[in-house]
Amino acid sequence: MNESFEPVVNALTQRLGAEASEFRGEVTLMIAPEKIVDACRILRDEFGFEMLIAATGVDYWPETKPRFNVIYLIYSFTHNLNLNLHVPLDGNAPHLPTVEGIYPNANWYEREMWDMFGLRFDGHSDLRRILMPADWEGHPLRKDYPLGYEEVQFSFNYKEVDSKKPYAKD
């Protein structure tokens, strides 16, 4: 591990019980959902990780414990370091605290995760859908969400598919 990561990793593993791992120079910390706000605050205030570059989610369905991973990619201008924070979440009504108070741009990332994965962010100021229409049902990036596939029209089934197609009448 790059030696400039060592104080960061040591602080988070000892104080918050994070698990560190490394793959090709990228350092990842697994953190429990209830400790993510503390972790972000320590990273920003004590180690100079000023910027949240991206926040996204992964669905490991059909695994249920943990089913989701929330991933925060955090960057330090001061030390030129990237750090990944992974937060495992169970499949049943997943929720975790918002980090909006520490990184304000997490607002829209968290709205996107709510929209696409159905993860609830406790304390979020404005948890609405951001990409899908407001009246949409379901969360499309979940692995068990149906693709919405429509039957393809070929020459042999042209009339059958055409009869079911909802054409606009003027």
Partner: protein
């Protein structure tokens, strides 16, 4: 001493009103400035000097639906965009035509999924479909000329009945 001397050998052309109106409609059909995806890049290329769609009296892309006659649906239509597209169509004054440009607008091409409208003809009535992903400017111009042929065959009052 009459008007024929002033005009030289121009002569007189007789037309019925229907042909005159259709001639006017085909030669000043203003498309709406409305690009949805990568097809819009080809639409812009068709506008630019190499292909020069102004040869057909279409050099004015109107940014307002109230001033446009033709809606070129250039790109995939998401389910969130569909109500917007329908509202723009409703705001266009009659007579109006729709050209579905490219595979995505015609049948969503490769995107057979929940997010996109499976063919824009589910939302607005389409007059001409142009195939291609994206269609070259020549293909778009061919579609426009095809639409002009269709318009020339329409009646004055049968504009809605022809569809």
């Amino acid at each position: 001493m009459g008007v024929e001397q002033k005009l030289g050998n121009m002569g007189v052309v007789t037309l019925n009103l229907e042909q005159t109106v259709n001639w006017a409609r085909t030669n000043s059909m203003w498309p709406m400035l409305f690009g949805l995806a990568c097809c819009a890049i080809e639409m812009m290329a068709a506008q630019a000097s190499n292909y020069d769609v102004s040869r057909f009296g279409m050099e004015l892309m109107r940014a307002s639906p109230r001033q446009s006659d033709l809606m070129i649906v250039a790109g995939r239509v998401s389910r969130k965009m569909a109500p917007v597209l329908r509202r723009l169509y409703d705001q266009m004054p009659d007579p109006k035509w729709v050209l579905s440009m490219g595979d995505c607008a015609s049948c969503t091409g490769v995107f057979n999924n929940y997010a996109l409208v499976q063919g824009v003809d589910e939302v607005v009535p389409v007059d001409v479909y142009v195939a291609g992903c994206p269609p070259r400017p020549e293909a778009l111009i061919h579609g426009i000329i095809t639409l002009h042929e269709k318009v020339r065959g329409e009646g004055l009052k049968t504009w809605t009945a022809t569809r």
